[in-house]
Each structure stands twice: as structure tokens, then as C-alpha cells.
Amino acid sequence: MKKKFARRDVLKGTAAIAAAGLGGTVFAAPARAQAPAASEITPELIAAAKKEGKVVFYTAMDLTLAQRLGRSFETAYPGISARVERSGAERVFTRIAQEYSSNIMAVDLANTSDLAHVSHWKRDGWIQPYLPQEVVQHFPKQYYDPDGLFIVTRVLVSPIGYNTNMVKPEEAPKSFADLLDPKWAGKMVKAHPAYSGTIMNSTYQTARDLGWDYFEKLSKQRVMQVQSATDTPKKIALGERAVMVDGAGYLIIQYKEKGDPVEIVYPEEGTPLATSPSVLFKSAPNPNAGRLFQNWMHSREAQQILVDFARQYSPHGQTVEKPGVRRLADIKLMKEDADAIEKGAEDIKKRYSALFKV
């Protein structure tokens, strides 16, 4: 068994985060104040969390995974119930903004699949620093904020996928360009950047690398439009459409291992990438339970669930790889750019809905 992440993979694979600079200041300011001391799960923290009795977790991860994490947390710390609020990352972001603007502080911690959200929250002063010991020890530096404002919980890719009953492997698309072939007209399903953070990332990256006229051509292919990046794999598993343009790669692997007729394709132009950060809110109603959950979610135990059950990429250095997933280093990845998305999100949504009509 190999380690999930070799250091080399990490540097090569997703150095984009560092490149993005995330608000610039974080990485560029050597003179910043003393980094917060790394925290361990202490009996005091557990006792305080148990007193609060519950934790509220808003997340964009697939519902079954989110609930599995919630249940595992409840098993690890009996007496604390974990309530999971799942929606698309962009929806989660909207929801928190809407609740906070009405002074409703319901969320303890959130996991989004759009790194740009962290800069928004940081600027608004909504999130608080917290650095678990294990993160400092075992996470590559690219995957957490040195001030502890966010930790990347998982790394996501948005590949192409197809239904093997409907498409023979030799006829399957190999690149994004292949999808413009008239033979795929009416046979594709695609998720929405105004709902999903993964798709916000993939839309930005694809438009940057292939140009918006790629999407203009794609929009003429009578593409079925769903919302969530977790829905497109379900639609091809059901056989509703033959090919998915984008979506959660990990679900394709999950479903394939379960016996569904689906196969993953890493497009030749590069596979869109989305890192999925988790943050802790300053006004969390259950701050201790929130810290405990944040700490536990990035422990080896929880991270191994991501690998074994969800088939996602874990940034934790000690998680053990389970064969069947192509290593990030072996995939040609597109570059993530959270800054560009932060500035351009509205424009991306506008152009997208002008082309795809919804």
C-alpha cells in the first residue's frame, strides 16, 4: 500500500492554490502575527462540546458521505448530535449570507467546494482560526491556512463520465472537444455553476483554457441541465443520459465499484480541479462542538472514510490509499484559481445562463 499523497503529487498537482495566493496576504505576509498554536482534542474540549450537545454542519459533499461523516462523529463522541445541512456549495454560500444578514447564526462550520468563498468570509470577518494538531503535522502546507482560517478537507476533480451500456469504450469521448461532435447532441447531462462549487470551478477553468466559445458550442448540443455535481453521475448511472460533461468524479468511481455501468474519462485538455475547504464560524452557536468536529474531520480516522467510502482525495499524509482511484499526480489537471473566481463569479453565472438559458 502506498501513501495516498506523495509530496511530489501534492506540489505538482494542486500548487494552484498557492499560485492563486488566496487573498494574497496570507502567503505573502511573512510579518503576520504568531500563528495559532495547534490544538489537540483535549478532554476539556470534548466535555465542553458535550455540554453543547450538537453541531451544525453545512456542506456541499454528497449526501451519503456527509451523513456517514455525521454518524461516525456521533459514534466517536456519543452525546453530540451532528446535523448535516447539505446543498450545493453556491447554495450553501447564499444560505449563510442570507442567514447572517438577518442575524441568524445557525451554522457552526461549513465545507464548500469553492475556495473563493473563504476569501469572502475572511473579508467579512465571519470565520475564526483553529488549527488541529494533525493538520499541522500531516497536511501539506498548501492545504491549510497558516492562520488556521480554513483547512482543505478534500480535493475534488470534475472529469467526464459515461454509461457503458450506452457507449462502447472505444467510442467514448476522450476530450472536452469530443463532446462537440453532433453524435452527442441530446445525450449529455451537465451540472450548474450557480448551484455547485465544483462546477463553478470547472466552468471557470474550462472557459479560461478552451474559451467561452467552447461553452457556446456545447450549449447547442441540447444538454440536459441539472443542478448538483452529485446529480450528473446519478443521471448517467440511471441511464438517463449517456455522457456527463462535468460532475463529481468520486461518485463515478463509487458507482462503478458498486456495479453500476459507469466509467470515468479524464479529458485530454486537463481535468478541472476543486479543493474543498472547511471553515469554522466566529458566531457559531456551538463553538466547542464545532472545533471538535473540525478537528475530528481532519483526523486520520475521518479522512480515511473519505478515501475508503467516498473515494475522494484526502490531503492527510497518513491516509492509506485504496486501489481503484487514479492518483492525482497521474491526472493532467487544470489549474485552480480562487482569486479569479472570487472576482468573476457573477460574470461566469451570467454568461453561463445566457448560453444555457437557465
Binding site: 451544525v56 453545512y58 454528497d62 449526501l63 451519503t64 451523513q67 456517514r68 455525521g70 454518524r71 448530535s81 451532528a82 446535523r83 448535516v84 445541512e85 447539505r86 446543498s87 450545493g88 453556491e90 447554495r91 454560500f93 447564499t94 444560505r95 449570507a97 442570507q98 442567514e99 444578514s101 438577518s102 442575524n103 441568524i104 445557525a106 451554522v107 450506452m166 441530446g186 445525450k187 450557480a194 448551484y195 444538454v223 440536459m224 441541465q225 441539472v226 443542478q227 448538483s228 452529485t230 446529480d231 446519478k234 443521471k235 448511472a237 440511471l238 441511464g239 438517463e240 443520459r241 449517456a242 453500476d260 457573477e346 453565472k349 445562463s353 445566457a354 444555457f356 438559458k357 437557465v358
Partner: protein
């Protein structure tokens, strides 16, 4: 007794301290706040904007200019009109002959047929839309798979495509036709048999009688039904969100909802809501005008039972027609949901080998929002039903007995919410209760307000007709013997109205738990209800959990209905869709 004190005057003579006047005034104020506050905010937002320089609100018509010039907003408006007109026509084409068959012919099992129409009415339209996705999605839909198996057609060929404008119209019509059916069937029930007899005696055949007597008498009800169906199709949110978005088009309701995505544009949403409000008011006026001229139809006292037309051999195609019509909103979708609930893959037929309880287990034991949503839904349903019934009871008493001066205003206020589509009310309530003086957003209260406002007109209409059926002389007797109005109400009227009140309570309860369009604007994570949870699950494609939750919702609904044994009223415009 009645000679000494005519009922009409009873209300104005009070010698004891009567609590009813301040009580009724309180209710009037309450109603004003309930309805006028959200609408005022809506109008205010639609004509103002925040000046970027001064940070103050200034008057502007820019939102309306955008609304009527931006193709992103004009197209949904046109689409909505097309969808509403088509589904209204489709409803009439199906419901009118069916209503006639059930009310005026010797078709067997009419009670069962009416019960099944009720079942299609209580089915939440968004749940029906999801079930129809499972049935008629072009490739994975059960019906299309069946079609390909039978005909050996190619992989990509299909019989139905639910993700299309016709598909949307079809599904909307499936859950709107009960409105037309009930109106038409009730009207036919009421047509006195002697009018038709007279026509027959004068030598007219069955067909001539139908053409010259029956149809003209029932036409106002049919036109009214068409208007209600149009209205319902126009203000529906769930079905277009489920079927139109994948097909790549918006309707007005989904567009308004999408305007709240980050960064939210509440001003534009408010402006986009107003045409819906305006159209609804106009349509309801039209409906009143049509129903108002029913004058000549039921002149005279009691008349004979309507004569049932013998169908003869025609009973076979007639029954086939009814069964097919009922299959579409009830049998097929319920089958699809049952299958999805216990199948590993929603669109694969379940077999004894593949039968699974995993969805059931997941929904009830792993999905952490299930319990919260069920609890909220139940609390809100019960509270809205209780408060709504009390409110409607008091107002309908005041108007039926003309108990206070200005009772007409009370009646008007109680029916006014009819003109507010759920999503518009949602936007209005959101604007009204996210800022001082009433910060209620994020609590169950704001949802409760929405539900009460939405259900009040139907409850009011039902109870008002119930009050009319209890003659005032009974109350007069009690008042002459010295009771105050409240006392006589409690001791005399209330027991007589028990059945109607209970029925109204159930009606509001059932309507509340299927409401989506206002809830989708107002929920927060802590105040989620089942309909919103189902919609959330829909967006991530978790069909198994949806099927389980949807079926639980139906079980809860039917338990309540069977408990009361009937759905009351089915009044002309008293029913709302989500």
C-alpha cells in the same frame, strides 16, 4: 320568537358588556397586518433602489424597465402564459367530460372515482413531477423503457419526454384538473332535473337537451374552472423547477426564485412578482363576474333529482377514459414512487431479489434533517390549521351574522390572500420580516404566517357557508334568554358546526404540509419542512430518499383525510397549489 326579534337585528342590540366588538376589531387589525405588510414591502421594493452614492432608497422604475426589456425575464413571462393557457385547456378537455360522466350518467363506482380525484388533489404537485420524471424521462423513464422493450425500438428512441414544455404542461394538468372537475361536477349535481325534464317533454332528444339546457347551465362553472386552472398553473413553483430547468427554460416562478441566488436581487424579484399578483387579481375578478351571473340557473325551490343518462354499451369506453385519466395523476406516479422507494436504482423495476430497505433506513436513521423537517412540518401543519380555523371561524361568524359594522371589510381581507401567489407571498414575507419592526425570518413564525395567510380564504369560504346553514334564530333564542353573543356562540352554534370546523382544520393541515412555493423562500436550516427537504434532495438527485419521504407525506395526508372521511368544500376557488 322570530317575530319578536328578527335575526338580522340581533347583532346590534346588546345590553350587557359584549366582548365581541373589541375581539372582532382585533381580528381586523391582525388581518391587515398579515396581508398588507408583506404586500406593501413588495410594492416598495419594486419601485425603489439603493442609491450607491448616498446609500439611501430612491424611487425608480428601472426594475420594471428591466423586467419588460431583458429577454432573461421576458421569455419566462411568455413561457408562463403559454404553459398556463395550455394546461388550463387540457384540464377542461379532460375534466368536463369526466365531471359529466360522474355526475349525470349511470357510470358505476362514482364514489370511488370522486375519492381518487381527491387523491390526485392532495398529492403535492412537486412530488407528482418527480414521480413523472421516474416514469417518463426520455431514456431512464419506466414507461419509455417499457416502450422500447415491447417495440424493440432503438436505444435513444422514446415515447415521452417529460423534460419539455408539453411534459411540463401535462404534469401541471395532472394535478390541476381536480379543480375543474369538482367545479363542473358540483354544478352538474345542482342543475335541477325538472329543467331537463321540461326539455324532454317538449320533444327534445338527449343531445338537444344537453346542448340547449345542460351545457349552458354548466358553462359558467367550466369557465370558472378554466380560470382557476390557469391561475394554478401560473403560480406553481415545484413542477417547473423540476421539469423546466433540465429542459433549459424558466417560468416566472423559477425565475423569481433564482433572483435570490447570490448576490440576491430582491428589488427585481419584487418587481417580477407584481405582474403575477396583478394577473391573479384580474383573473379572480373575471371568475367572480362569470360565477356571479349564475342567476337563472337555479331558480325555484326544491326540485327533482337530476335524471341519470343511461350509457348502455358506451359505459366501456367511458370507464376506460376515466381509468386512464386517473392513472396519470394517481396510479402510475404512486407506483413509480413505491418502486423507487424499495429499488436499488429508482428507474429499475424492483424484484424480490433486489428489494431493499436501504432507502428507508437511510431516510429515517441516517439523514439527520428528516426528523427536524418532519417535526417542523407537523408543528406548522397543526398550528396553522388550529389558528387558521379559529380565525376563519370568527371572521365568517362576523360576516354571516353581520355582527359588526364593516363586516364586509373583514370578508374582503379574509379572501384577499387568494390573489397572492405563494411565491409572491414568500418574497413579500421575506422582505417584511427580515428587518425591524418584526424580525421573524429564521423562526417557524414566519412560515406559520405564510401558511395561515395562504389557507385563510379557503377556510373562510368553507366556514362561511357552514354558518349560513345554521339559522340565526337558534342563536337569537339563546340571546333572548340572556346569554352574551360569545356565550351563545359557544353553547349553541359551536356544537352545530363541529363537523365543518373539524373538516376545515384537516383541510388546512393537508394543504400546509404540501406547500412548497412560499416555504422555499422562507426556510432556514433550522426551519426546514418536508416539502423543502424533498426539493433539496431532488437537486442532488437522491430519488430513493425522496420516494420514502414523499410516501410518508402521503401516508400522513391520507391518514388525516380518512380520519375525517372526506375533504370538505372543494369550494370554487378555495384550493391552492404549491
Amino acid at each position: 320568537m322570530t317575530l319578536a326579534l328578527p335575526g338580522q337585528k340581533a347583532g346590534r342590540q346588546s345590553f350587557k358588556v359584549d366582548l365581541s366588538v373589541p375581539l372582532l376589531l382585533t381580528f381586523a387589525v391582525l388581518l391587515c397586518v398579515l396581508i398588507l405588510l408583506p404586500i406593501s414591502w413588495l410594492v416598495m421594493y419594486s419601485v425603489t433602489m439603493v442609491d450607491p452614492a448616498t446609500k439611501e432608497r430612491v424611487l425608480t422604475l428601472a426594475h420594471f424597465r428591466t423586467l419588460f426589456s431583458d429577454p432573461d425575464l421576458v421569455e419566462p413571462l411568455i413561457t408562463t402564459m403559454i404553459v398556463a393557457v395550455c394546461s388550463s385547456v387540457a384540464c377542461c378537455l379532460v375534466a368536463a367530460p369526466m365531471g359529466w360522466l360522474v355526475a349525470r350518467t349511470d357510470l358505476p363506482m362514482t364514489r370511488l372515482i370522486r375519492a381518487l380525484v381527491t387523491a390526485s388533489f392532495v398529492t403535492p404537485p412537486f412530488l407528482g413531477a418527480i414521480a413523472w420524471e421516474i416514469l417518463a424521462a426520455p431514456n431512464s423513464g419506466l414507461l419509455n423503457k417499457f416502450y422500447r422493450t415491447v417495440t424493440g425500438a432503438e436505444m435513444d428512441s422514446y415515447l415521452f419526454n417529460i423534460y419539455s414544455m408539453p411534459g411540463l404542461i401535462f404534469v401541471i394538468a395532472c394535478y390541476t384538473f381536480p379543480y375543474v372537475f369538482v367545479l363542473v361536477a358540483n354544478a352538474l349535481d345542482r342543475i335541477p332535473g325538472d329543467l331537463e325534464d321540461a326539455s324532454s317533454i317538449l320533444g327534445a332528444g338527449t343531445w338537444t337537451t344537453a346542448r340547449r339546457v345542460t351545457i349552458p347551465l354548466v358553462l359558467p362553472a367550466l369557465v370558472a374552472g378554466a380560470l382557476v386552472a390557469f391561475l394554478q398553473a401560473m403560480i406553481l413553483f415545484g413542477s417547473p423547477a423540476i421539469l423546466a430547468l433540465p429542459a433549459g427554460f424558466h417560468t416566472m416562478t423559477t425565475k423569481i426564485w433564482s433572483l435570490f441566488q447570490y448576490p440576491p436581487k430582491p428589488e427585481l424579484a419584487a418587481a417580477a412578482s407584481l405582474p403575477l399578483l396583478f394577473l391573479t387579481v384580474m383573473l379572480l375578478r373575471g371568475q367572480q363576474m362569470i360565477l356571479g351571473r349564475k342567476g337563472y340557473s337555479i331558480v325555484g325551490g326544491k326540485s327533482g333529482e337530476p335524471r341519470l343518462i343511461r350509457l348502455g354499451w358506451f359505459v366501456v369506453p367511458a370507464m376506460a377514459f376515466v381509468i386512464i385519466v386517473l392513472m396519470l395523476p394517481v396510479f402510475l406516479p404512486y407506483f413509480a414512487l413505491l418502486n423507487a422507494a424499495f429499488s436499488p436504482l429508482a428507474t429499475t423495476l424492483v424484484t424480490p431479489e433486489t428489494f431493499t430497505l436501504k432507502n428507508f433506513y437511510f431516510t429515517f436513521f441516517e439523514l439527520s434533517t428528516t426528523h427536524l423537517a418532519l417535526k417542523n412540518t407537523f408543528i406548522l401543519g397543526a398550528a396553522a390549521a388550529t389558528i387558521g380555523t379559529v380565525l376563519a371561524l370568527v371572521i365568517s361568524y362576523a360576516t354571516a351574522r353581520k355582527a359588526v359594522r364593516g363586516y364586509q371589510v373583514l370578508g374582503f381581507l379574509a379572501t384577499a390572500p387568494l390573489a397572492i401567489p405563494g411565491i409572491v407571498l414568500g418574497v413579500g414575507l421575506f422582505l417584511a420580516y427580515t428587518r425591524p419592526p418584526f424580525v421573524l425570518y429564521g423562526t417557524l413564525w414566519v412560515l406559520l404566517l405564510a401558511y395561515i395567510t395562504i389557507e385563510l380564504p379557503a377556510a373562510y369560504q368553507q366556514l362561511q357557508s357552514a354558518f349560513r346553514a345554521v339559522h340565526p334564530e337558534l342563536e337569537d333564542a339563546s340571546r333572548i334568554l340572556g346569554a352574551t353573543r360569545l356565550r351563545s356562540l359557544i353553547d349553541v352554534t359551536a356544537p352545530l358546526l363541529r363537523t365543518s370546523v373539524l373538516a376545515t382544520w384537516c383541510f388546512i393541515f393537508v394543504s400546509t404540509i404540501r406547500e412548497l412555493s412560499a416555504a422555499i423562500m422562507l426556510f432556514t436550516s433550522e426551519t426546514k419542512v418536508v416539502s423543502v427537504l424533498i426539493f433539496d434532495l431532488k437537486e442532488s438527485g437522491d430519488l430513493g430518499a425522496i420516494a420514502i419521504l414523499g410516501l410518508s407525506m402521503l401516508v400522513l395526508t391520507f391518514t388525516v383525510i380518512i380520519f375525517v372521511n372526506r375533504i370538505p368544500g372543494f369550494g370554487s376557488s378555495g384550493l391552492r397549489n404549491t
